[in-house]
Each structure stands twice: as C-alpha cells, then as structure tokens.
C-alpha cells in the first residue's frame, strides 16, 4: 500500500504546497517593498527586522476581521467563490517540474508531482476553472460593482486565454510534446525556447499578466472605477483568499514562464562543474527558483511602472493585436521548421 514512490509523492506534494504558500505570503511583502523602493520609499520595516514579519501580521489581521456575508447574497456561492479561486490556483503546480529528479537508493524520483503527457492542456484547463472563482464570487455578492468586476474578469481572461493558447501552439509545434517535463528537458544548455520563440514569449507574458489580473490589466479590481471589483463585498479571510490566490497565480505564472521559455531547471555550463546527478538536480532547482523570483519581481516591476489599460484598449489589444500576432507566430514557426527541415 505505502510504497516508497507513494510516500515520496506525498512528501513532494506537502513540500510544494508549503513552498507555494510561503512564496505567495512573502510575495505580498515583496510587492510592498518593491513598490516602496520604486517610489523612493522604504516599504514596511516595522514588524521585525526589515519588516520581515509583516505578512504574519497581515495574516493575523485578516483572521481577526469580522466576517461579513451580505444578506442579499447567495450564501453558498459566496463561500464557494474564494474556495474555487484558491483551490484552482494551488492545483496548477502539480505538473511543473521543479527539478530533474533525485536518485535515492537506486530508484529515480522525479521532482514533479504528476508527469502528465498533456501537462500544458492541464495548466490551461485549471486556469480556465480559475475564472469561475472570480465569476461566482462577483455574481453571488449581489453588488453592481462586484458584478461588473466579475464580468470584466471573465471576458478578459477568456479573451486572453485564446492568444495565450495560440502562442503556446507555436511552442508545441517546435518541441513536439505537450508534456511540461519534456519541454523543460528539451532545452539543455543555453538552448532556451525564448531564443527560438521571442514573439511567442512576448505574447505569452502579456497574456500571463492579463490571466493573473495584474496591472496593467487589473481591470477586474480596478479600485478607481469599481471600488474593489469582484471582491468588494468580501471581508476577513475570504478576501484574504482572493488576494492570496492572485499571488499564488503570479508564482505559478512565473514558474510556467521559466519552465516553458527559460529552460526550467536547466542552466548553461553548470554540468561542467558538478558531476553528481543529485547535486546537479538540486542546483537546477535553485536555478529554477532564481528564475521564478526574477519573474515575480518582473511582475511587480511592471505593476508599479505602467498605468492601467482602459477596457476598450484591453479588448483591442487582445483581439486585434495579440491573436493575429499569435497566428502570425504559428505561421512563422511552421515556415522556419520547414526551412530548417525539421518537419517529419
């Protein structure tokens, strides 16, 4: 019953879960620090040294707040909304390879919870369900601002998913696989996919900003127009779940971007210095997290630089800009593959 493989997977799930949650927790801190530094301020620095306990204080505050469920709301859906948002964003990390794998006692254990051969499709499926968290929450609140926010969120996420999927198709054409693990393993040394798919990467990262509802595409919670957007009526830890889900989404997006386009756990030249496969694998994991942290920083950097898009601009960019570009990218990729004789 409890085979070593099963126990290993269980441990891995717990580790990935806690790492995800801790990173999301400290992303809130990092966000405020980065925002402060980019605006010539210091950011939070009162709770603990350098304000390192700030997320803990915020968490305690969230739990202590009064829990309000509006009378006119649909109570079950109101509770279901943040739960769905949180559950779906935690599910995505299952297919991300966080390292090549460890060999313990002659058995090889991959550092990935589930090596699904349609990993990318799985990611897209789960991300699509994530829309429901926001939609259900916004609709169940029975508040016009929430409803508008939810409407915007769903239309925005659905529109940008199209361009995102099309940009991935070019990548899949090139790598010939849908498994995230094989895509990551297929870029050894410096042969990162971003070098072959610069346009695809650009489209993908813009769509990733839109999918995570972050600035400059944070229209669903656009505070200047919609009070708080879809989470206007939420309070206490339900609000915390929504905000937390955003940061987990950011972490997952950063992980997906680094895995698909930046070689995942691969790093050029490192194989020359380290020969032990286990050490190499752990160093690779460290590199992957380095890349993830860079992209999380990049997300914040963009947020505190670029003003929010107007709604019609957002739709124009998605439908008239990114989708034709993505189709062009597919065409160019096909042309390139034909030219270099890679078509089977």
């Amino acid at each position: 019953m409890f085979t070593p493989a099963l126990i290993y997977i269980f441990i891995l799930i717990v580790v990935i879960f806690s790492v995800t949650l801790v990173i999301a927790m400290y992303s809130t801190y990092a966000e405020r620090k980065v925002a402060g530094f980019l605006q010539d301020r210091l950011g939070p620095n009162r709770a603990g040294p350098f304000g390192i306990l700030q997320p803990v204080a915020d968490g305690v505050k969230m739990f202590m707040k009064e829990e309000i469920i509006p009378d006119v709301s649909n109570k079950w859906l109101f509770i279901l909304g943040p739960s769905v948002a949180m559950a779906t964003c935690l599910m995505t990390s299952a297919v991300i390879p966080f390292g090549s794998g460890l060999t313990i006692g002659g058995t090889f254990y991959p550092m990935q919870v589930a090596d699904v051969n349609i990993g990318i499709l799985y990611v897209f499926g789960v991300v699509s369900i994530g829309v429901y968290g926001i939609m259900i929450g916004g609709w169940a609140s029975n508040n016009k601002y929430s409803l508008l926010g939810a409407l915007r969120a769903s239309s925005q996420m659905i529109s940008y998913e199209v361009a995102m999927g099309l940009s991935i198709i070019a990548l899949v054409m090139m790598t010939g696989t849908l498994s995230v693990r094989e895509i990551a393993a297929g870029q050894p040394g410096g042969h990162w996919n971003v070098l072959y798919q610069p346009l695809g990467f650009l489209i993908f990262i813009i769509c990733a900003f839109a999918e995570t509802n972050r600035a400059p595409f944070d229209l669903p919670e656009c505070e200047t127009e919609l009070v708080g957007g879809y989470h206007t009526e939420y309070s206490s830890m339900k609000l915390g779940f929504y905000l937390f889900a955003e940061y987990i989404n950011m972490f997952i997006s950063a992980a997906v971007i680094s895995t698909l386009y930046f070689g995942g756990y691969n790093m050029p030249f490192i194989g020359r210095f380290i020969t032990d496969p286990n050490t190499l694998s752990l160093v690779g994991t460290a590199f992957l997290f380095g890349k993830i942290f860079f992209f999380i920083f990049f997300f914040m950097w963009v947020r505190w630089t670029i003003p929010r898009f107007r709604y019609d601009q957002l739709m124009n960019l998605g439908w008239k800009g990114l989708i034709p570009l993505a189709i062009l990218n597919i065409f160019l990729t096909g042309l390139g593959m034909w030219f270099f004789g890679k078509v089977g």
Binding site: F37, L38, W301
Partner: protein
C-alpha cells in the same frame, strides 16, 4: 477669437507612429526609469528613531524668560496680548510686595499669564511686541493632549525653570538683536 494672453496653444491629436502604437519602447523606457529609482537614496525619515531637523527659524512653544538673577522679566504690560492676532494671551497684573525682588524684576508682574495653545497661530508677534525680552518662541513642540483645557498653558508651564534654562539663541541672531535696539522703532523706546 483672439486670446487675451496670446499664450494659448492649439491642441492637436496627431496620429501615433508605428513605434508609438506598439507601446513596447515606451514601456521599456518607463521600466528603465523605475528601476533607476529602485537604487536611489530613499526620501523616508524613520521618524521615532530619526528626527528631521527643524528649520533655523522654527517658532514653537513659548517660554517666559527669567533674567540673569533668576527673576521673571515679564512686567505684565499687556503688549503681547494686544499684538496677538489670535487673542490667545490673557494675563492678570499684580504689584510686587517687599521681599519679592528676587522673584520679579520690576514692581509690576504677571500674577497669571495664560496662552491658549489651540488659539495660538505661532506667528511670533508677541515676541516682537515684548519690550522686556520676556517672551520667546522656542523650537520645542506643543505636545498633544486629550482635553481642551490642558492646552491653556499657565505660568507653571511657560516660565523657564531656574535649573533648566531654555536656549533661545537660535533665532536671536545678531541681526535680530540689532533690530531690537533700533530706537527709531516705537516699541523699542520703552
């Protein structure tokens, strides 16, 4: 129509060029600017630990000075109260009794002297009006309180303690002292 100032400009909505329309160069430019600010020196002052220096000419809480022998300089002439635009100062004058020469410099002194710190606008006109060099505004702050009554400062809070003289030399520069000695000004003639 001819504009009055001749400074009006005609607003044009010009077509954006291709580079402007794809936004990316502008976005990277903006990101370069923000990352520069990331490494800049921060403007924040960590307040309770670090306090920002007051200006040289800061006017804060008042003090009623004593002379070199420790006697109160104020003679309750009321010029400060008259000059006060906010009518924050009230006083009751009294006659000095025999044996009180150590306490009060002149024959007349202020029995009570009150400044309502909620009315006071810290303009410093009382200091300018005083012919006896008795009242000065220091660089101290008026502390906060919970009751309005506490903001009416009596002599117990205003007169400088004998063992802890208040330094007012910061704003009393040579130029200010020369100005006060100018006998052409009426209030210096007393």
């Amino acid at each position: 129509m001819q504009s009055l100032s001749n400074r009006s400009k005609v607003v044009t909505k010009k077509e954006m060029s291709f580079m402007e329309r794809i936004y990316l160069p502008a976005i990277f430019g903006g990101m370069a600017i923000t990352i520069k600010h990331f490494f800049k020196k921060k403007a924040t002052i960590n307040y309770p630990e670090v306090k920002r220096d007051f200006s040289e000419v800061y006017r804060g809480k008042h003090v009623l000075k004593r002379d070199e022998n420790g006697a109160e300089r104020c003679t309750a002439c009321g010029l400060c109260a008259v000059s006060c635009p906010a009518e924050a100062i009230t006083m009751v004058a009294g006659e000095r009794k025999a044996g009180e020469e150590k306490l009060y410099r002149e024959e007349k002194y202020a029995v009570t002297y009150e400044i309502n710190m909620l009315r006071c606008i810290f303009c410093g006109l009382c200091e300018e009006a005083c012919p006896k060099e008795a009242i000065f505004l220091t660089d101290e702050l008026v502390p906060t309180d919970f009751k309005r009554g506490e903001f009416i400062y009596g002599k117990n809070k205003l007169v400088e303690p004998l063992d802890n003289r208040v330094d007012i030399s910061k704003r009393q520069t040579q130029a200010v002292l020369d100005f006060k000695k100018n006998k052409l000004l009426t209030h210096n003639r007393l």
